[in-house]
C-alpha cells in the first residue's frame, strides 16, 4: 500500500474528499456538515485506518497550507473595497470591534483558566473568533498548538453559523448592520457565508467584522495573554 503514501495521491485525495463533502453539503443543505470539518474528519479516519503517519501526510499537505499566508494578504482587497463604508461609520464600527475583540479574548482565557485548562490550551483558545489562517498565525506567534486552534476555530464558526442569528434575536440585536458585524466578528468565514445567505448587507458587514477582528486580535492577543497568564 506504499502508493497511498505518495504525495500526489494524498493531494488528490484531499481535493477529492473536500469536493465530495462540499457537494454533499449542497445536496443536504445542512450547515453542520461544514466541508472543512468533514474533510478533516475523513482524512484523519483514513490516516488512522491505513496507519499513515501525520508526518507523511504533511509532506503532501504542506503544499496546500503554504497558501494560507498569501490568502490572508489577499484579504487586503476586500478591506480596501470596504474602506468607504468603514469611514462613514468609523466610531460605531471601531468601538464595537474593539469591545467584541477584547471581550472574546478575555472571556475565553478567563473561563478556560478558571476551569483548570493548561496554559498551552489557553493560548490556543485565545484567537478562537478569527478566521483559521489568522488564528493559527497568532497561535504560532504566542506559543500555542496551531492545529488545536484550527479545530476550535472551525467549531466556533459552525456554532456562529448555526446559532448566531438566534442569539442576536434573543438579545434584541435586530438591524442588519449590527447583526452582520457581530456574526463576522464572532464566527469569521463560516459565519460570514451564513450571513451572505441572509442578505448582501449582512454579508458585507460580516466580512468587515471578520477582517477587522482578525487585525485587532492579532495585535491584542499577545498583550492580553501577557496580562492574564
Amino acid at each position: 500500500m506504499e502508493i497511498l503514501q505518495n504525495n500526489i495521491v494524498l493531494l488528490a485525495l484531499t481535493f477529492g474528499v473536500f469536493y465530495a463533502s462540499r457537494q454533499f453539503q449542497k445536496w443536504t443543505g445542512w450547515i453542520v456538515l461544514n466541508p472543512i470539518l468533514v474533510t478533516i474528519a475523513v482524512l484523519i479516519l483514513f490516516l488512522q485506518l491505513t496507519g499513515i503517519s501525520y508526518g507523511t501526510y504533511h509532506q503532501a499537505g504542506q503544499y496546500i497550507d503554504f497558501l494560507l499566508k498569501p490568502a490572508i494578504v489577499a484579504l487586503g482587497v476586500p478591506l480596501y473595497r470596504n474602506l468607504k463604508r468603514i469611514r462613514q461609520q468609523l466610531l460605531p464600527i471601531f468601538l464595537s470591534q474593539l469591545a467584541g475583540c477584547i471581550a472574546g479574548i478575555v472571556s475565553v482565557v478567563a473561563i478556560a483558566k478558571l476551569m483548570g485548562a493548561s496554559s498551552a490550551v489557553i493560548i490556543s483558545l485565545a484567537p478562537k473568533s478569527v478566521t483559521t489562517p489568522i488564528a493559527m498565525e497568532i497561535c504560532k506567534a504566542t506559543g500555542g498548538i496551531p492545529s488545536l486552534t484550527a479545530a476550535i476555530v472551525v467549531c466556533v464558526g459552525l456554532f456562529g453559523a448555526v446559532f448566531g442569528f438566534k442569539v442576536l434575536e434573543v438579545w434584541h440585536i435586530r438591524n442588519p448592520y449590527s447583526q452582520g458585524l457581530s456574526i463576522g466578528t464572532a464566527s469569521h468565514a463560516v459565519g460570514t457565508s451564513r450571513a451572505m445567505e441572509k442578505s448582501e448587507t449582512h454579508g458585507a458587514y460580516a466580512s468587515l467584522g471578520l477582517i477587522l477582528n482578525g487585525v485587532l486580535t492579532s495585535v491584542l492577543t499577545p498583550l492580553i495573554l501577557d496580562l492574564l497568564i
Binding site: 484531499t14 473536500f18 466541508p35 472543512i36 478533516i40 482524512l43 484523519i44 490516516l47 501525520y54 501526510y57 504533511h58 499537505g61 496546500i64 497550507d65 497558501l67 494560507l68 499566508k69 498569501p70 490572508i72 494578504v73 489577499a74 484579504l75 487586503g76 482587497v77 480596501y80 473595497r81 462613514q88 461609520q89 460605531p92 468601538l95 464595537s96 469591545a99 467584541g100 472574546g104 472571556s107 475565553v108 473561563i111 476551569m115 483548570g116 485548562a117 493548561s118 490550551v121 483559521t132 489568522i134 498565525e137 492545529s147 472551525v154 456554532f159 442569539v167 442576536l168 438579545w171 440585536i173 448592520y177 449590527s178 458585524l181 457581530s182 466578528t185 464572532a186 463560516v190 487585525v215
Partner: protein, 116 residues
C-alpha cells in the same frame, strides 16, 4: 499572473521582514494585508493588478486549512483531557462576542446615525 503574485508575495515578504527586524508577535501576513490595503488606497497599485489571484485565494481560504486541521490527530489526548474547559470556554465566549459586538454597534450607531 506574475505581477499578481509579485504584489501578494511582495507584501508578504515585507511583513516577514518587519517581523524579522522587530521581533513583533503580529503575523507577517496581517502586516502584508495592511500594506496591500494601503497600496490600493493610495492608488500605487490598481485593484485589477491583484484581482484574479486574490479572488482565487480568498474563495478557497477554507480549503487551505484542511492540512493543519488534520494535525489535530496528534492532539487527541490533550482534547480528551481538557474537553470540558475547551467546550465551555469556547461556547460561552462566542455568545459573549456576539452580544458585546452587536450591542456596542447598535448603541453607537443609533446615537450618531446620520449616514444611514
Amino acid at each position: 499572473m506574475i505581477r499578481q503574485c509579485l504584489i501578494i508575495f511582495g507584501c508578504l515578504a515585507f511583513g516577514e521582514l518587519v517581523v524579522w527586524l522587530t521581533g513583533i508577535t503580529i503575523p507577517s501576513s496581517i502586516i502584508g494585508m495592511l500594506l496591500l490595503t494601503l497600496l490600493l488606497q493610495t492608488k500605487i497599485i490598481k485593484e485589477k493588478w491583484v484581482k484574479s489571484v486574490s479572488d482565487f485565494l480568498i474563495s478557497n481560504l477554507g480549503f487551505f486549512f484542511v492540512p493543519p486541521g488534520v494535525a489535530l490527530m496528534l492532539y487527541f489526548d490533550v482534547i480528551k483531557a481538557e474537553f470540558l474547559p475547551i467546550v465551555a470556554a469556547t461556547v460561552a465566549s462566542t455568545i459573549i462576542v456576539l452580544i458585546v459586538t452587536g450591542w456596542t454597534h447598535q448603541i453607537f450607531k443609533s446615537n450618531g446615525d446620520t449616514t444611514e
